[in-house]
Subunit: 324 residues, 2 copies
């Protein structure tokens, strides 16, 4: 069995040696830039870990793993244009470093490169793998669309929010596990159990992200605390707070979040106080735990000796308990 | 053998009955809008015609045909954002009718739908088909990148220009023919001959477009004459004129094309006069004929009775001799 660190290195090594660029270099430079900036390589590691549950030959899954990582980075590239985000992982985003047209077109080319890597996959189940990938890719777009729509809506229900993050974040983690399992030769039952495991880990992962934005340590988190509050983003915390607040607090929240004259500090402090009063932190942690338990129940059913599952369990815990 | 009209109807019918939309409708509405606006359906018709050369069962190629049409429309959608084009086929472009974010994201989803249709293809040669498609898609992006780069360059050579239009326009027509032939069961030799045929038809097609922009009849052409001149676009005509002009005329052209104070009419009239003096129209027509002949030589070698090639020959002639 491989360790997470080894797999991350394998992924980074494969990305570094893959020759993505050719002429015109101006099209490919933003792609290699985006991929070199790094990140945790969660999705490709999940592909390899999942394959490794069923097979010791994980090299057969490397191309699919890289394909998923490229796809993920493509979505970030285009999302950053739409969200007008200037910085990603401490570096200027592509549309800032180059320009918007380059970001659109290099993003498109990057998406095609993701398919290229998936097509390299020597699996007899290529059609099944591509179908999973394609359905997932479409769902990720749907998630981004809902996310943008929620920005202009006043009310978003908890159910709607969970569905949005399932589409935008969870299904890709789930698909990574599913594709890895298919390549590793898993049964359909195990493949689907791993998909469900990934889906719930993804939900917990995103709620942890929401939580860190308010209750994280900015020195560890790597970005400023309270960004979601200032942006009036409908996170799990805000949705839950609006649901549980009394009339007075709800009114205060709504006025404050929409008030452009109020300072960043005032917004963050006041909203956090209301969150504290309503025990939003604990409610969110409980929800995270609930998703985590659901995920573990699915993983438990996968017909593999439990000692082979250790690394996957570790990774899931890292994702959920992360401080950054 | 099917006639072009029948195939266009088949394509339109298949697009109309394909259920592309689901929730969120805001993501899918721009896709159905773009596809319903129509166009000549050249690429899917080429897929079907090419398949029909080798097989009477063209239904097996319909999904691939629709996939290519969706891909082509996706490239137009994203190109229109980059080119800041407000109108396409007499209708507002997606980024005008909705907004830029919608155009980016719906474009991405559209691209994924193109793969969906290709994946539906029941061919045993799916891997080969997807590889052709993927390579072509990347080349189309490269073509668009060169096209944008040429805008900011002062000098573009004829060779560079031909390579750019080969990537941006020709390879997709070529790939349509190649994919149709693969599905129809053609030999590798015939498949590659049809690719070359399509490539040269594509080059002739694009030069005809350049020609119509200056020498077309605006009532038939459907857009205003001289748009390329006003935009200082490095078309085949301009590149050739700069190459053949004397020092004085070249200087006049360069100053005029970059002069923002000069009227549209003055630019068009003066440049056209220089074109006329240099017989640019005839030179371009000759180049078109040259490409057409090369294309026909490749088609001639395809090991199919010549009477089966009639419709393909007709379509090629329509594309090259078109007035709009």
């Amino acid at each position: 069995m491989y360790h997470i660190k080894e797999l991350q290195e394998k992924v980074n090594h494969s990305i570094a040696k893959s020759e993505i660029g050719r002429e015109p270099f101006s099209l490919y430079a933003p792609i290699t830039y985006t991929l070199s900036v790094g990140g945790k390589r969660i999705r490709p590691v999940l592909v390899l870990l999942s394959c490794n549950l069923f097979s010791d030959d994980i090299d057969q899954a490397v191309d699919a793993a890289i394909g998923l990582e490229i796809f993920h980075n493509f979505t970030l590239l285009h999302d950053d244009i739409m969200d007008k985000a200037d910085v990603r992982r401490g570096n200027p985003t592509v549309h800032k470093k180059w320009n918007e047209n380059t970001a659109i077109l290099s993003g498109d080319a990057m998406f095609i490169k993701a398919y290229d890597f998936l097509l390299n996959c020597k699996s007899a189940k290529l059609h099944q793998i591509l179908t999973v990938f394609n359905n997932t890719a479409l769902e990720v777009c749907e998630g981004q669309q809902y996310d943008m729509e929620f920005e202009t809506r006043n009310h978003v229900s908890e159910t709607e929010y969970i569905r949005m993050i399932e589409l935008k974040t969870s299904v890709l983690l789930a698909a990574a596990l599913k594709i890895g399992a298919i390549i590793g030769g898993a049964s359909d039952t195990d493949t689907n159990l791993l998909y469900e495991f990934g889906k719930y880990i993804g939900l917990a992962f995103q709620l942890q992200d929401d939580l860190l934005d308010v209750y994280g340590d900015s020195r560890v988190f790597g970005k400023e605390i309270g960004g979601d509050i200032v942006a009036n983003k409908k996170t799990f915390l805000l949705i839950k707070a609006k649901e549980l607040a009394n009339e007075l607090d709800r009114k205060q929240m709504e006025v404050l979040l929409n008030d452009k004259t109020k300072s960043r500090e005032e917004k963050i402090n006041t909203i956090t106080l209301i969150y504290n009063k309503l025990t939003i932190k604990e409610i969110t942690q409980q929800k995270i735990q609930e998703f985590h338990q659901k995920a573990m129940a699915y993983l438990n059913e996968v017909s593999i000796a439990s000692e082979r599952k250790t690394e996957l369990i570790n990774l899931a815990e890292t994702l959920i308990q992360r401080k950054k």
